[in-house]
Symmetry: C2
Subunit: 479 residues, 2 copies
């Protein structure tokens, strides 16, 4: 029974050390492994299967809005990157450079893409000639590289997986519409599928993406009260079009610059799932994103008929559209329970000789550990209901937690108090000046997360300088 | 009507210049575009959609055999690569090296993965401890880089997309079984889905993958009689396990080296589809892999009811599970026909006022241009039948072409004649000596494609040296 070398070991409590808890969960739930390549990780089957589900969900939603997938090279010639000066200033300090190909040094260095605005622009320059060629709504699923100094699995690694959408339009309005559409798509996806509530808003000038006219963002709050930027959508106006000469002949026969957007979501969302929903027993996966949604655990599986019945229940659940696994290994039931909890499997179904006699099984929810006795002939209808309720409850709990950790600072004293208290979102007024934003970061250790689309009037003056306020801003410590 | 800037331009005839025909098709069917990055290409929506279908089909087949997907870093530290000397000799001349990360030179160079045996081995070394951890049947979908000097879209580019499976087993037999299983999976996929017949066999020592104990391959024949290696599956025995120290405690409590395999298929298969099935009007896509399987083209679409009826037919086809597009653009029907042919859409459905009156439409097959008049109320059942017949016929035609271009050389004179005649597979006996293989390449310009599993006895002696023959070999010119 307990002869396995690997034990379902105790993980650090999140209240004791949240960072260590996170590291314990990502490794013990077997989501990742460290590698010989500093700052890069192996995404193991349990982690990658979550990413595959994220891809499947997002990709289907993208395609409904007319997105087409493409693939562009992973290398960007230095010369091309330098064309857009702002972008270079943004990324140059953190790119990896290829300087040698085969046995010869390259005449021009190539950077491994940190993002692909430059390549898409260079491509669109030739691909777009007439208004008839517009819009182009392209996306690619790929990996990108940013040479980060400090890294953490999923949250910040030198290489990560993402999708990057890059679109080009004939009008400014259409570009704005697409930027908003994709932000809303991300927000709906986070809320409906990942059970993560988000705040939608705009980044300040200081925090926006290098080269963008406007960056929209969704911000979520982790269990420890720190914020996580969870998806961004950028409106470039015609800035890149001018730098890369993307012109088209419009209906009026005039040559015009095109308008562009880009938008991305990354494997860091796996980190968000862990930090929003996890607990001291490990991962808790929202049913809609869980690679395995139900595990059937036979109790006293050597007794006659138990394994057969367990297999039967597995088939019933699969027929109900639930991704199900049967754990018929020779480990003890207690061990199997702990392992399924560590891996965050939404429900487990216990079935033993006594249950069989009573014509029932026990369904246990991972999030609340609530046990429901279900008649065997009702499992196929009850299990989906329990999963749906769990999905809803997980979102509600995350929303309540987020709301309980969202504070309002009408003045500087309150702001100071809140920034030194337990972390969370802090809503406060801001004059719109970069100097104030920088001073706030310097003095209070928080950054502007976003200027939310849903504005509230908290006070008349900037919380820092006292001048007339322009915006209400969400502030916080961020991953 | 014909005001569009882009014309469906004449493409070079394949009989005049096959290479130019190929280039014309990949660009005019809008599969790829060239980029500022030498040797790298943009895979455009029409090309990437084919790859997505290949991925979907292969991935589902993989998973049925127990494959789990993972993701490993794209970088390999030089030191790690050098551990397996044979592999380094194989790939060192053609890798891209990252020497700078951010603003500082790296202490150790990183190569951009040309393939990931070294990384998987380094990972398995820690991940595998006991026989209970085995087997691991992992795969990743990613891009790889090989610094080729001469490149051609899909067939040979500096960066390409592929899947690479890497497995580790407790016994040699299990590794052999997996190597064969994946080769057969590739062969079935090529034949059933891509309508491409393949020869299954083993590579010679000279042609096998660096570091492999045995490389199995499927070889297909292009329209011009040149061969294309279409998928490979490698058995490494315990060679990598010994180099990277992958040991496990077996049931008998002894420490043993594990056994490994790897296997891959790439975007070059898109090149194979083009070169096996294409014709002088452009691409011809086998229905099962075609992103768009049917295009509905309204004739006299401004006449009352035509567009509505065309939309109705599109819905009927979609309901029958056929991926369908309606071309209601303002181009002329002739233009639309040519464009649909260029893009290789398997069937087009023509519907105009006269057809409507007669209660029928015309279905035209892309491969044979055969026209079938179909009653409107039968389209939903007839169209799938026509597509199924087309898929089958395309395979048969490719098989006949392959067989007609497979020649037998019982002796040196015949071999010499065949190698200087029209290209194709040449079956001939071989003594098994590398020297003979090299001399044949040198003198006759053909390489050994494989030692087919289905052996035939053509003669007693090696076609080159006259010594006792060991194997019958397929020889040919290859891409």
């Amino acid at each position: 029974m307990a002869k396995d070398k690997k034990m379902v070991e105790q993980i650090t409590s999140m209240d004791v050390d949240f960072a260590q808890w996170y590291t314990d969960v990502v490794t013990k739930a077997e989501l990742i492994d460290y590698t010989s390549v500093k700052g890069c990780m192996v995404i193991k089957p349990a982690g990658y299967a979550i990413w595959e589900n994220i891809q499947k969900e997002l990709d289907a939603r993208f395609k409904e809005t007319g997105v087409e997938n493409v693939y562009l090279p992973m290398f960007i010639p230095e010369n091309l990157l330098r064309k857009e000066a702002e972008l270079v200033n943004g990324f140059a300090p953190e790119v990896a450079w290829v300087t040698q190909g085969g046995e010869e040094p390259l005449q021009e260095r190539l950077c491994v893409r940190p993002t692909s605005e430059t390549l898409f622009s260079d491509f669109y320059k030739n691909d777009v000639q007439s208004y008839r060629d517009l819009p182009k709504i392209y996306n690619q699923w790929c990996s990108v590289v940013r040479w980060e100094k400090t890294t953490r699995p999923f949250l910040r690694s030198r290489e990560f997986l993402w999708q990057e959408g890059h679109t080009v339009h004939a009008t400014y309005e259409e570009a704005v519409e697409r930027t908003e559409m994709m932000l809303n798509l991300y927000a709906d996806f986070c809320q409906d599928v990942l059970a993560i509530p988000v705040v939608r808003g705009r980044k300040t000038e200081k925090e926006k993406f290098a080269g963008a006219e406007a960056t929209y963002t969704i911000e979520s709050l982790m269990h420890d009260g720190q914020a996580l930027q969870s998806g961004t959508s950028h409106n470039f106006g015609s800035k890149f079009a001018e730098a890369y000469d993307i012109q088209f002949t419009d209906r009026d026969n005039k040559l015009k610059y095109a308008y562009q957007t880009s938008w991305g979501m990354t494997t860091r969302m796996i980190g968000a799932i862990i930090m929003v929903h996890g607990d001291d027993s490990g991962l808790v996966l929202p049913p809609r994103i869980a690679p395995v949604q139900a595990v059937v655990v036979p109790v006293q599986q050597r007794k006659e008929g138990v394994l057969e019945k367990a297999q039967e229940l597995k088939d019933v659940l699969a027929a109900a559209g639930i991704r199900t696994r049967l754990d018929d290994s020779d480990k003890s039931p207690g061990w199997k329970f702990a392992e399924a909890e560590m891996r965050g499997i939404p429900i487990r179904i216990e079935i033993g000789p006594k249950d069989m006699e009573a014509g029932q099984c026990v369904v246990v929810r991972r999030d609340t550990r609530e046990k429901t006795v279900v008649a065997l002939n009702e499992l196929g209808t009850k299990a989906p209901e329990i999963l749906a309720a769990m999905q809803q409850d997980m979102f509600e709990r995350a929303r309540v937690h987020r709301d309980e950790h969202t504070f309002t600072a009408p003045n500087k004293e309150e702001f100071q108090k809140l920034t030194s208290g337990r972390p969370g979102f802090i809503k406060a007024m801001w004059c719109g000046e970069r100097a104030c934003e920088e001073a706030i970061k310097e003095e209070y250790g928080v950054t502007s997360r976003c200027i939310p689309f849903d504005q509230e009037h908290i006070a008349d003056e900037c919380v820092y300088c006292g001048k007339a306020a322009k915006h209400m801003v969400y502030w916080g410590k961020a991953y």
